[in-house]
């Protein structure tokens, strides 16, 4: 089962390396990338400083495998890569990286969009929003 989880934030450098790797795939005409960044939300006058992510890893990877298969069956993709942070990701840092590539743009754009929605709705991952005073609350996806 392919791992999608990375320890801590996803660096801009890591994202570049992933993009650069695809220069040799000369059948690709379009890439679409979604990046989730940790926001300094204000809740009851307290500012979020970081999110601490945990997962039910075995289930998440099985689920991810199923979603991946479904998206490859539905869209004419050349490739798709997904990375999600675990542990602490500070405000302004990247915690989710979805990267789709295809010959024509529609497939990459639509597949990326669907993948992001399915990750948010179907992956057993939880975010704990840690405030600057070190208290916390549990993140709610909308």
């Amino acid at each position: 089962m392919k791992n999608i989880f990375l320890d801590g934030a996803i660096s801009a450098q890591f994202i570049t390396e992933q993009i650069a790797k695809h220069a040799t795939k000369t059948g690709i005409g379009a890439h679409n990338i979604f990046l989730g960044q940790v926001r300094a939300d204000v809740l009851n006058d307290k500012v979020v400083a970081a999110i601490d992510y945990t997962t039910y890893k075995e289930m998440a990877l099985e689920k991810m495998h199923i979603i991946r298969e479904a998206i490859f069956a539905k869209y004419d993709l050349t490739c798709m890569h997904v990375y999600h942070s675990l542990g602490t990701v500070k405000v302004g840092e990247i915690s989710l990286f979805v990267f789709t590539s295809s010959k024509h743009r529609r497939a990459a754009i639509d597949a990326c969009n669907e993948m992001v929605e399915r990750i948010k709705n179907e992956l057993p991952v939880w975010g704990k929003e840690i405030f600057e005073d070190e208290t916390y609350t549990w993140k709610v996806n909308n």
Binding site: Y56, M59, K120, E122, L123, K128, N141
Partner: protein, 75 residues
């Protein structure tokens, strides 16, 4: 039987893994948990058996992998 606990339910239950005994289906599991942790009644969560979310009462074999999942908030 071990029960894995995730997210905000770890705070409520006080552990990310507890032992449950004398339950052979998920309805009984939920009854037992709700009587031991009454706040669970006010919580949103789903039960996964062998890494699949169950939709209705499900038999629990001795080697079942059971988990309590509060609403997901990844991404």
């Amino acid at each position: 039987m071990k029960l894995k606990v995730f997210g905000q339910l770890v705070d409520l239950i006080g552990s990310n893994c507890i032992e449950v005994i004398d339950v052979n289906d998920t309805d009984k599991l939920i009854q037992q948990l709700q009587s031991k942790y009454p706040l669970l009644k006010n919580s949103k969560y789903r039960v996964a058996v062998n890494r699949n979310i169950i939709q209705s009462n499900t038999i629990l074999k001795q080697d079942a992998e059971i988990a309590l999942l509060p609403p997901f908030s990844g991404g």
